[in-house]
Symmetry: C2
């Protein structure tokens, strides 16, 4: 197939991630020959802008993918399960942002900074990982290469955007209501969000007590890094932040580690900006990660709960809609163009 100047489709174009995918394609000068935008019947007919063209959003049907070479899906698992095979049948490579195919053995789960070589093994579908897994692994992978991961304890501070544009709007609206002393009934999220935080609303596994978000993060981190047995504990919490996730990490390594050695490793790692200024108390923050391609990494120090000299604490922040979703998908598409394919 011609991947030098491919015809591209975005499925779920009117969502929060879809908008960022279109933005990334534009900003990064993706060499597409044509762009088609798909969404649900409800959103079809909207007109979106791409490079001064007005593009009409089309409903996603069974014959939508004729001639499409790369289809970027950001429309949830049900849409992916229904339409990704159809797109592949029509000749497209699908890069899917949902969790539908992430653990399928014939579907690469890709973060370009970590495992770009696995792309070559695709059979038409490539999965874009969970946003927390992507943002964490960009920081963890270079540390693994240098020191050897042995154990990860993570607590997340997750933004509204992970639940979509409507959740971002609910955070704004409910916060305004709280400031005005007005009642507000949540519609998108189950819990009060204004000036509150809560355990991630994904379903809880009644046996283990982990929720589905935590299970995704753990198994996807293991799969992306190829560390099938890596012990990981994750607590996923939603905080009243709009669109950048933060993660507090305590990590044990096979080999001795110091903050200085870790900082030196991270300073030259791809996709990372070290923000670690103890003098001025300047560390990764969601507002500074917002709109940035890089994952911000800081608070690098010995984890004082382990006196062996093998543990590190760190704090990361990354734009959930960019590196956590749209940017990573577009980077995968760029690798398809650059590859032998």
């Amino acid at each position: 197939m011609d991947l030098h100047s491919p015809s591209v489709a975005v499925v779920g174009a009117t969502g929060a991630v879809g908008a960022e995918i279109i933005g990334c394609l534009d900003r990064r000068g993706f060499p597409l020959s044509s762009l088609r935008l798909f969404a649900s019947e409800r959103s079809a007919g909207k007109v979106l802008n791409y490079r001064n063209q007005s593009l009409r959003v089309e409903p996603c049907g069974a014959d939508a993918f004729a001639g499409i070479r790369i289809a970027l899906f950001s429309a949830g698992s049900a849409v992916a399960r229904r339409f990704a095979p159809i797109a592949v049948q029509a000749g497209a490579v699908v890069i899917d942002n949902s969790s539908a195919y992430r653990m399928a053995s014939d579907v690469p789960l890709v973060v370009p900074e970590v495992n770009r070589a696995t792309i070559a093994g695709h059979h038409g579908i490539i999965a874009n990982p969970n946003c927390v897994a992507i943002i964490a692994v960009v920081a963890l992978w270079p540390l693994h290469q240098a020191f050897g991961l042995r154990r990860i304890v993570a607590s997340t501070y997750q933004a509204a955007s992970g639940a979509g544009a409507a959740a971002m709007e609910e955070l704004r609206e409910s916060t305004r209501a709280a400031l005005d002393g007005q009642p507000y009934e949540p519609r998108v999220l189950r819990q009060r969000y204004a000036f509150n935080l809560y355990s991630h609303d994904a379903a809880v596994d009644l046996g283990t007590g982990s929720n589905e978000e935590e299970i995704k993060v753990m198994r996807e981190l293991r799969r992306i890094m190829g560390l099938a047995e890596l012990p990981i504990g994750v607590t996923c919490i939603r905080v009243p932040v709009l669109r950048a996730h933060a993660i507090s990490l305590a990590v044990e390594f096979e080999r001795p580690v110091t903050a200085e050695a870790a900082r030196a490793v991270l300073a030259v790692a791809p996709g990372i900006r070290v923000v670690d200024d103890r003098h001025s108390n300047h560390f990764p923050m969601p507002v500074e990660a917002t709109g940035q391609d890089d994952v911000l990494v800081g608070r690098l120090r010995a984890d004082t709960s382990d006196r062996s000299g093998h543990s590190l604490a760190l704090f990361v922040a990354g734009d959930q809609l960019l590196k956590g979703a749209a940017l990573n998908a577009v980077q995968i598409a760029e690798l398809l163009l650059a590859g032998p394919g």
Copy 2:
């Protein structure tokens, strides 16, 4: 001294914690004979209500404590260092909410649910611990008694109230400005707070990379529990929440532990309400901890980063102004009344 119906003073009466101390004295029917309220020169002259009495706030001077039997201080370290010895000299027992005396060997550091017996060893000053340390230790102590603490990894989600009433107002004002698209220059806190979070603004130790808040939490947890060598790692983060802290904990124990066994222990522990409903995804939240005396404890499950069966993950939330500060101080005062003193 007569501690059956003592004369009481509140120092720092116009602050966020001071107001809650007055509220706790009232609500709990503290049997005081008289109440005097002190604050800085700037706040002196204000009139506050206590049980339908209007009390004029007095400036805190060298002769302020004549006749006072219990002085509840919530005015910061500088005021405590200056006036607590004067109050003791005048015959008062001081319960101080600042960090000034917390690590002094002749000053008990008290959380009644944990180490009430240490009150007897006071020499006029009793210290009220750091808010995160109090909220964490109420949950950790019964687990320690049952299973034996071996290691703690904690990440906090700290509310604005920890920085005082002005910080709470700044969170509200800056959030309104953000919603309105208006600029806002932080005055109380160094960082943008609206829809953001950041590493605690306490000074960072340049050698270890821990900040002063984290250092307080670690050393106070060890001191309150009498576990001088307990390995603890803490990451302290301020989140845009008004007045209840949350803490994500991963804890290793000497003995095997299960979520069920931990739940049974916590269900009968003082000062705790177990909020741990996997079916309905209902777990501790700041908005539900607000105004509550109890610390909410939930998300009880095996810490999947340790396969030995000795580790537990949990999530707690507690009102920073109540159990984290004012309530704990008033509970100490109640113990003074009840004790042999």
